[in-house]
């Protein structure tokens, strides 16, 4: 296998081929390519840990993980992550041992482990690499860079090398679109990839240099805070908001929050004051949860808030605890941001030292509140608040049935406040400067400012804090865009805005957004963009409900068919009819999965038409799709056809 040149993937599909073919286990077993049979032979011998020695080693790893993190439900994910890190996968013996320690059925632990993108029950490489397949990273050549690294290291994308030195795969947006293309290596983000960097990285891996000894500048995350306003500009001193609130009381704080008009910054826009009030009014053991899952492709503003404004975020959570009486809070940090874990823990320690966290807060007899951090493991659905709560509880992160809502029945069925990072950061400032100060900015229904994560085809990608009510055209002026095809506001689930609509405003009453703002230059291919978004939804669907589990896969197949020029008018009709089905889904992911297709079809029907075959009937048989398995087995992707 060492001498094999990689078969070119001329007519390859986007991302994981297996994702849309339904042959995943099969492809995994054969390792994606023709040389992998040999690979498999080598691997099968060492796959199962069976010697007494290695069993002891696994037991030691589990012991260490358990003693470091604990065995309460909220520690399950951390323990599994730790074992994945130490063994480069989750050996069956380890899962059994974890099941015993947590007093859970083995199958339940397997069910949790298999859900997450960064946890594996089959061995991964000692260097486990994930390239972000976010459309912005792809448009900055991430696919060619991945091919280059794979070629250098002599393995196929999606595969583990025979000697288990390295595995290379893709993952959804890593939150580095302002400085992409990016990858994660053993959890560490590497932004600004270049061909030279790929070669150097391959060299480090071949020489087996530990990641901790790689050049520090490779890992440097730049801050692109391009426009400051209320939130980013106002100086902050730890404890000022909390002490003010303690002096003036819960009633005053809720009044100020109401006056501020603050609405949730995570996307849905529920008034924060009302959420806290409802939670307070429901009896029980209250919890406060900060949603730092930031999974919306193209968003990275929470990354910067957690990096530079962490204390303000934690104070916001403490204010919510003051209102609701919660004694425990959780910050749910997406796995991709694991590098922020240590600084965040340091920030928590500092607050404890200052008496702003822990027992007897601010010297008060009956005010106790502390915060734990739970780190995710690669699953976009965990940003959905009820799935997030399940994830913390150590369950499969399926969204829950609603009603009841988390405010009355959340973590461990207790009343729970869940807010976005930015919402908490804003609440802290409102507690210092009052509601009116905040409400001076913005529009009638959208008060204050919004952090936008701007990426794509513009001169200055980065974070822009803008007043609500700003038009898309104005934002494009700020970041320096040229000729554009359109802008995707709010990530794949949001709105595709064509140039004719650039007078629309960023506001809850017009273009609501969690913060993602992707700029597409006029040279981009709209079908390609929509297909990649379809790929994102198919990959991230949790699989709980029928319409989304099957519908997102069908949608991806149809988009692929159109993208390759195999589709007919009937396929477009079929695509349109998926809208109604996806609307019957269980949660927001399914409800919005059709948006990119619907919006791009509405604005650019011509682009779709141009890709169709000139037939007035639609063959139900998709030849390309049927041949996919054979192509995978032979490693021939239609290149030979062009030679005829």
């Amino acid at each position: 296998m060492i001498f094999c040149p990689l078969p070119l993937r001329g007519e390859g599909t986007i991302g994981h081929v297996a994702d849309q073919s339904g042959f995943q286990p099969y492809f995994e077993a054969i390792g994606f390519g023709r040389w992998s049979f040999i690979d498999l032979l080598f691997r099968s011998r060492s796959l199962e840990i069976d010697t007494a020695e290695s069993l002891d080693a696994v037991a030691a790893v589990v012991d260490k993980a358990v003693s470091q993190h604990g065995t309460r439900p909220q520690h399950l994910l951390a323990v599994l992550r730790q074992i994945q890190k130490d063994c480069h996968y989750l050996p069956k013996q380890a899962l059994q041992s974890v099941a015993r320690r947590f007093s859970l059925p083995l199958a339940r632990v397997v069910g949790v482990a298999e859900f997450y993108g960064f946890l594996h029950t089959q061995p991964r490489g000692e260097y486990d690499i994930y390239f972000s397949d976010c459309v912005i990273d792809v448009f900055h050549d991430s696919e060619a860079l991945m091919q280059r690294l794979c070629h250098r290291l002599r393995l196929q994308p999606g595969a583990v090398r025979g000697d288990r030195r390295v595995s290379i795969d893709t993952t959804s947006c890593t939150g580095l679109c302002d400085q992409g293309p990016a990858l994660l290596v053993n959890g560490w983000p590497v932004p600004r990839l270049t061909p030279t960097l790929m070669d150097a990285m391959a060299d480090h891996i071949e020489r087996r240099v530990p990641v901790t000894q790689w050049p520090a500048e490779w890992f440097l995350i730049e801050d692109h805070l391009c426009r400051h306003d209320l939130l980013l500009n106002t100086p902050w001193r730890p404890g000022t908001g909390l002490k003010n609130a303690l002096r003036q009381g819960v009633g005053w704080l809720l009044e100020q929050l109401t006056a501020s008009g603050l609405r949730g910054r995570g996307g849905a826009g529920f008034p924060t004051a009302r959420k806290w009030q409802f939670c307070r009014e429901t009896p029980g053991d209250h919890y406060v949860v900060c949603n730092a899952d930031e999974g919306e492709p193209g968003t990275f503003k929470d990354r910067e808030l957690l990096k530079h404004y962490a204390d303000q975020v934690f104070e916001g959570m403490t204010l919510a605890a003051f209102v609701t009486g919660a004694r425990l809070g959780f910050l749910y940090l997406r796995g991709e941001y694991e590098c922020l874990l240590r600084p965040l823990q340091a920030a928590l320690r500092q607050r404890r030292c200052l008496g702003l966290l822990g027992r007897n807060l601010c010297g008060l007899m009956d005010f106790h509140f502390d915060i734990e951090i739970v780190v995710g493991a690669g699953a976009y659905i965990c940003g959905e608040e009820s799935a997030l709560l399940n994830s913390i509880e150590g369950l499969r992160p399926h969204p829950r049935n609603r009603p009841p809502y988390p405010v009355t029945c959340g973590l461990w069925n207790q009343p729970t406040v869940v807010n976005n990072v930015e919402s908490f950061a804003a609440a802290s400032l409102i507690a210092v400067h009052g509601g009116e100060w905040f409400a001076k900015v913005g529009t009638e229904k959208s008060k204050g400012t919004k952090l936008l994560s701007i990426s794509g085809d513009c001169a200055r990608p980065g974070i822009y804090e803008v007043p609500f009510g700003i038009t898309v055209a104005e934002v494009l002026g700020l970041c320096g865009s040229g000729e554009t095809l359109g802008v995707q506001v709010g990530g794949p689930a949001g709105t595709f805005v064509a140039p004719s609509d650039y007078q629309r405003r960023i506001a809850y009453e017009d273009l609501g957004t969690g913060g993602s703002f992707m700029v597409f230059g006029s040279h981009r291919d709209i079908i390609d963009i929509a297909t990649r978004f379809a790929q994102f939804f198919a990959h991230e669907s949790c699989g709980f409900c029928t319409p989304c589990r099957v519908g997102t896969s069908l949608q991806l197949r149809l988009m692929e068919k159109i993208r390759r020029g195999w589709a007919t008018a009937g396929d477009i009709q079929e695509l349109e009819s998926l809208k109604q089905l996806l609307e019957a889904s269980h949660c927001g992911l399914g409800h919005t999965a059709h948006n990119p297709v619907q919006h791009t079809l509405a604005h650019y029907p011509g682009h779709y038409q141009a890709r169709l075959r000139d037939l007035d009937f639609s063959p139900g048989f998709d030849l390309d799709n049927e041949l996919e398995t054979a192509r995978q087995l032979t490693g021939r992707f239609g290149d030979h056809l062009r030679q005829v």
């Binding site: 994702d19 073919s21 339904g22 042959f23 995943q24 286990p25 099969y26 059994q96 059925p105 083995l106 199958a107 339940r108 397997v110 069910g111 482990a113 298999e114 859900f115 997450y116 699953a379 499969r396 049935n401 009603p403 198919a538 990959h539 991230e540 669907s541 949790c542 699989g543 709980f544 409900c545 029928t546 319409p547 589990r549 099957v550 519908g551 997102t552 896969s553 069908l554 197949r557 009819s577 109604q580 089905l581 609307e583 019957a584 889904s585 269980h586 139900g620 048989f621 998709d622 799709n625």
Partner: protein
């Protein structure tokens, strides 16, 4: 008693009831696959989708409320349910003519009930494992629709034999045993979990093809008739037990 309008008909409900419970209590059928009167509602198959005041909701989880207008039997809703059923067919491998559950299968009966004449969507032909290791119970994952009834039933049995694993379209049913095989689990053929599967994914061995064609469960009655005859009484029993 409070009432809702169900397909234009006024029906009463008890506070706390879901829409499907209210309908069932009045002997009105709403299609469903993952709902069962003996277990907590799940809300995953979406066959029970109805329009509540113009919005699509799952009748099995949505609470009934005074004055609601529920539409269940419009052509639009039937079409939605038909497509959902077809989705369930194509994502698995359902070879009805050779399946021992044929005639007794809720998915198949649902297809007939909704007037399904083709699969509409392309087949996914997934490769899934069959597990015949248990002496009395067969697990054929090709036919699984991920309703989690076996998961819920096994929890009620106090055993946790079944769980879901994987994600999205790669979701799969797993068994709680060191080898992952049913034969090594503590499933007993008399467990509720061994008999609850609405399709032919979990079947009891040596019982296949015993009932002649023409006399099977859904040969003479529609799934609606069977449901009202068999499930409505179970629901009533549950309410009576609650009141005692």
């Amino acid at each position: 008693m409070p009432t809702i309008s169900f397909d234009g008909q006024e029906i009463t409900f008890e506070p706390g009831q879901t829409i499907i419970e209210a309908a069932m209590a009045s002997d009105l059928y709403i299609p469903h696959l993952c709902w069962h009167p003996d277990f907590p509602p799940h809300g995953s198959c979406k066959l029970c989708s109805v329009k509540v005041n113009g919005r699509i909701c799952s009748a099995c989880t949505f609470p009934a409320a005074e004055g609601q207008e529920v539409v269940s039997s419009s052509e639009e809703v039937r079409q939605l349910r038909l497509r959902l059923t077809q989705m369930l067919f194509v994502e698995g491998n359902h070879f009805c003519p050779s399946c021992e559950k044929s005639g007794q299968c809720e998915l198949q009966a649902m297809g007939y009930y909704l007037g399904m004449t083709d699969n509409h969507y392309p087949h996914f032909f997934p490769v899934r494992d069959i597990d015949a290791s248990h002496p009395h119970v067969l697990l054929d994952r090709d036919r699984c629709i991920f309703c989690e009834l076996c998961v819920r039933a096994s929890r009620a049995d106090g055993k946790n034999v079944f769980e879901l694993a994987g994600r999205g379209i790669h979701t799969r049913l797993v068994v709680d045993s060191p080898s992952g095989k049913l034969g090594d689990s503590n499933l007993d053929v008399n467990d509720r979990a061994a008999h609850i599967c609405p399709v032919g994914a979990i079947v009891v061995k040596e019982t296949a093809f015993r009932i002649p064609i023409g006399q099977r469960k859904y040969d003479r009655r529609t799934i609606a008739e069977v449901s009202v005859a068999e499930e409505a009484p179970l629901l009533r029993k549950r309410y009576e037990q609650k009141e005692d």
